[in-house]
Every structure is written in C-alpha cells, then in structure tokens.
C-alpha cells in the first residue's frame, strides 16, 4: 500500500511539484472584490487618523504625546492593511491538464496550497448568486468532490474550460491511469 505522503493530494507543507506530462492551462487570481472591505476600512481609519493628527499639530505642545500615540496607531493600521493586501494578492488558482491548485497566503502566518485532482472529478458547476456577483462577474466553482473555490472571476468561462478537460478524460475519467498521472 502506498504511503499517504506519496499520494498526489498530500503536500505536508512542501510546495507542489509538477507531475510528468503536466502542463499549465491557465492561472488566475481571485476577484478584486476581496480588497474592497479592507480598503474601505483602511481609508476611513487613515482619513480620520490624519485629520486628528492635523488638529493635534495645531494644538499646543502638550499634544505631542497624543500625536505620537496616534502616529503609532496609524503605522499599525497601515502595515496591517498592506500585510493583508499583499497576502491576498498572492492568492492564485492554477489549472493544469491534471489538477487544480489553489494557493492562499497570509504573510508570515499561513501559506496553503490545496490540490483538486481532476482524476475523480466528473462535473464542475459555476455559481453566481446575488446582484453584486452578477454585475462584477465573479462567483464560486463547485465540484462533485469536496472543495469549492470562491471569488473566481468569470466563473462560467472557467467552468467551461475545466469541463473541456474533464471531457478529454472520457466517461470513465482517468481511473485507469496510475495515481501519479504518468502519460501513456
């Protein structure tokens, strides 16, 4: 019996390694809507903070400790925001002819890569629910195996692309192909 760590979906914190005959079909980031809430909060906090700093600057010298404290708070908010933005910017989805890799990161805290092998997969669904998702053209990709991918831009086009690959595998899927997907 194969060791669990040898199976294709198990990474054990290592970066995914290309399989033999694997080629990239498409790579894409998640939709920019992921930045909106944090950016709105950042703008509100920074505007309020800078306005308060400006008021303190016109006040007496006794306000200096307060302005330094406020500056420290603003520095914290500023770096928290960009920490979040850079981490989310590093979120990527990669579609190859053998699998779908979803990588998500939060700098210094989390760096996950989830693999969705196309081998047991039969169907893929694109879901857009709600007015905003329709207008901004993003949604969720769901499969007949566990694991959804959220915030996918142009989900119907992506689903069609995955569906084309699945059709190439035929009605039996690729269950006759060895686990590591070596080309015949």
């Amino acid at each position: 019996m194969k060791n669990l760590s040898d199976l294709p979906w198990k990474h054990d914190g290592r970066e995914a390694v290309p399989q033999e005959g694997e080629r990239m079909i498409e790579k894409f980031g998640t939709h920019w809507i992921k930045y909106v809430a944090s950016t709105a909060l950042y703008l509100v906090l920074m505007t309020a903070g800078l306005a308060a700093l400006s008021v303190l600057g016109n006040a007496s010298a006794l306000a200096i400790p307060s302005s330094l404290l406020l500056s420290a708070a603003l520095v914290f908010v500023h770096h928290w925001y960009f920490h979040r933005m850079l981490g989310r910017n590093a979120d990527v989805v990669v579609l190859t002819n053998k699998r779908l890799l979803v990588s998500r990161a939060s700098l210094w805290i989390r760096d996950d890569t989830t693999e969705h092998p196309l081998v047991p997969m039969r169907t893929v669904e694109a879901q857009k629910s709600g007015f905003i998702q329709h207008v901004l053209n993003y949604g969720t990709l769901s499969f007949d195996v566990p694991g959804n991918i959220e915030l996918v831009p142009q989900p119907h086009r992506k689903a069609a692309l995955i569906s084309e690959i699945l059709q190439e595998f035929g009605p039996k899927g690729r269950m006759d192909v060895p686990a590591h997907g070596v080309n015949a």
């Binding site: 970066e15 995914a16 390694v17 290309p18 694997e22 080629r23 990239m24 790579k27 800078l50 700093l53 400006s54 303190l56 600057g57 016109n58 006040a59 007496s60 010298a61 306000a63 200096i64 400790p65 302005s67 330094l68 500056s71 420290a72 603003l74 520095v75 500023h78 770096h79 960009f82 920490h83 933005m85 850079l86 981490g87 910017n89 590093a90 990527v92 990669v94 990588s103 990161a105 700098l107 210094w108 760096d111």
Partner: protein, 83 residues
C-alpha cells in the same frame, strides 16, 4: 521651563525616529515575505513554462512604499508644527 520643553521635543523626535524605524522594518519584512511566497509558487512552474509565473504586483508594492513615506511625512510635519 524652556529646558523642559526642549527635552520633551528631543524625546518626541527620538520616539518618532523609533516609530519610523519600526515602520521601515515592517515594510521590508512584508515585502520580503511577499516576494518569497511568489518565488516559491513560481519555482514549480518554471520547469513547465520557462518563466516565473507569479511576479510581484508593482502597483501594490509602489503604493505600499509611497503610503509609508506619506505617513512618515505627516507625522514629522505634525511634530514640526508643534515645535
């Protein structure tokens, strides 16, 4: 009293210097980790495509550096006006 005020301003500039030192350190650490994460992801695809698949966003990095500088400038100008 004037000497006390002078000492207070000196201390304020020291705190300001430390604050901005920490800020620059955080900027450098975040950019380093961002680059490292993207390089790690790219490594896998180099063999397939022959080029790094994931490059850092210049807009985001530029904006981060610019906003950090603006923040430092805003704090300094407040201290200067208070002096």
């Amino acid at each position: 009293m004037f000497a006390g005020y002078h000492e207070s301003m000196e201390l304020s500039w020291t705190v300001f210097g430390i604050l901005n030192g920490v800020s620059i350190l955080l900027l450098a650490l975040n950019l380093y980790e961002y680059r490292r994460v993207l390089q790690k992801r790219s490594a896998m695809w180099l063999s397939m495509t022959g080029e790094p698949a994931f490059k850092p966003s210049r807009t985001l990095v530029g904006l981060y550096i610019l906003c950090t500088a603006i923040l430092a400038f805003a704090s300094a100008s407040v201290l200067l006006r208070s002096a």
